[in-house]
């Protein structure tokens, strides 16, 4: 087990950071709530980092700040060395729902970020790129289909393509498959891993699911609430590509138990 993980471990330490967060604090003055307190985070190129925590621990706030959708109260947020002061085309986002526009067909939905940012002409130029992305996720035959004709899993795959279409250097995923049934979800997680490996993507995932976080991530940030803070940065030494069978290994069980204990502590604190 440990032999396996030592041999096949990724070596991200050789590459520079894509995302850097220093002493990040976010308070919502209106509700007098400290959503995030002194969060430190460095994500290296090609790394897959997850954040897990009970609801209300500030993980969605963290994601929104990283995406430039919310301003921080204190601290530095750098994407490839540049401060994040608003949405950027270097960031690709994915949400809980596929949020495809029902009046656009699949390929038009995938091209939406480009047509909004650069106009229709640029979107036309990127058409072949969008189609090749759809082929990558197995939707090559559905370029002209409307979202109403796609299943939940297919819609989420299309939204993966929309996230990738502008070749972002950082992917931010907000519980992307939590609305899907469990079988589809497992399958989509494996697809996500395959796509991230193929694209050498740097990925940040917010999730509720422990198993999902462990199976996908190189590192897991465990957050506790009130105030929202990172209590542990857990490295996952499982070889890539990960498989669903790894869920049954003792190592996997140990990590899950360890993180669950951390989360339970927060749950007790929140209930007391």
């Amino acid at each position: 087990m440990s032999e396996l993980s030592n041999n096949l471990k990724l070596a991200p330490e050789k590459m520079g950071p894509v995302f850097e967060i220093e002493r990040l604090t976010k308070t919502f003055a209106r509700q007098n709530v400290t959503a995030l307190s002194n969060v430190e985070l460095t994500i290296k190129k090609g790394e897959f980092v997850s954040v897990i925590g009970s609801s209300g621990c500030g993980k969605s706030t963290l994601l929104k700040i990283m995406a430039g959708l919310l301003p921080p109260t204190q601290g530095r947020v750098l994407l490839e060395g540049q401060p994040v002061r608003g949405p950027s085309s270097h960031i690709g986002m994915m949400f809980q729902q596929a949020t495809l526009l029902p009046w656009k067909n699949t390929v038009e939905n995938v091209l939406l970020p480009i047509s909004i940012r650069e106009g229709t002409a640029a979107a036309k130029k990127a058409y072949d790129h969008a189609v090749s992305l759809l082929e990558l996720v197995g939707l090559g035959g559905f370029t002209k289909a409307y979202p109403g004709e796609l299943s939940g899993g297919m819609a989420q795959r299309a939204s993966i393509c929309r996230m990738l279409v502008s070749n972002p250097s950082m992917l931010l995923l907000d519980e992307p498959f939590s609305a899907l049934d469990e079988l589809t979800r497992d399958f989509m997680n494996m697809e996500l891993q395959r796509i991230c490996m193929e694209k050498e993507a740097t990925t940040f995932l917010v999730t509720h699911s422990l198993a999902e976080a462990v199976i996908l991530s190189d590192r897991i940030l465990v957050m506790q609430s009130r105030p929202g803070r990172v209590v542990e940065d857990v490295s996952i030494d499982l070889p890539r590509p990960r498989t669903l069978e790894m869920i049954n290994t003792p190592y996997f069980g140990e990590i899950v138990a360890h993180i669950r204990a951390l989360l339970a502590k927060d749950g007790n604190a929140a209930n007391s």
Partner: protein, 281 residues
Amino acid sequence: MAKSEEDFEDTVWEEKDALIDRIPRSIAMFLLFIIVVGLWDLVTRMGWVSPIILPTPMETLNDLIFVGSNLTSGGYMLSALWTTTLTVFYGFLIAVCIGFSLGVLVGETKFGERAVMPYLVAIDTMPKVAFAPLFIAWLGFDIASKVALAAFIATFPIVVATAAGLYAATENERMLFKSIGATRLQTLLHLKLPTGLPYFFTGLKIAAVGVMAGAITGEFLGGGKGFGALIRQSASQLNTPRVFSLILYLSLLGLALYFTVVWTQKKFVFWNKSGNLSGVN
């Protein structure tokens, strides 16, 4: 001992709808028509209701044919119908333009929501027909005052529906647009307005009914050359069959407007498959 397979037939059985659910639409409509006209004929034939209050179906039919021939031969009724049609058309057009603009103002800007909406709600709760004398005083007895009343009544449902439609985009959709760097105008044009279209059309349908009521009320109260004036004139002459047939022809105008809206909605909102009460949506 277990029975062998051949001892049982396949367990095939049919789910049956009740008889009342199995009648096809055309027959169902025809049946109801026969029942209503039959009852109508009965109460008039038996002398239970005075013919001045309720004409017989036959009298009504005869008058329908008379009015129909007058309309098709280009008689004075046709010009009256044309006047009312124009009133309804202009009223609807004005209501759509003003209603949509105010709806965007209310639904898209905080100022509209905070400052304009309370006044709109206040005006909307007033009985709008009561404004008719004012419109007549301001705009005269011609078509303009009727157009104004019709538009006035039809504007509010469009405002409310447009504003509600602009709120209909989900939090995730807004976040998506924000994250891809969309401007406010882009978000309005490419997300909020298309998302709100089904709401907008619902408002148009309510407005289509209101604009008819407004136009006819205007003609009742302000006279003029429209169908409303003809109806009032016939009523004052106790020509009840004529009132009936005029109302029936008038309803064709309302239906035409309503189904123009429905047809336009089907063209533009092809993706929305909700609202399946057939023949209405």
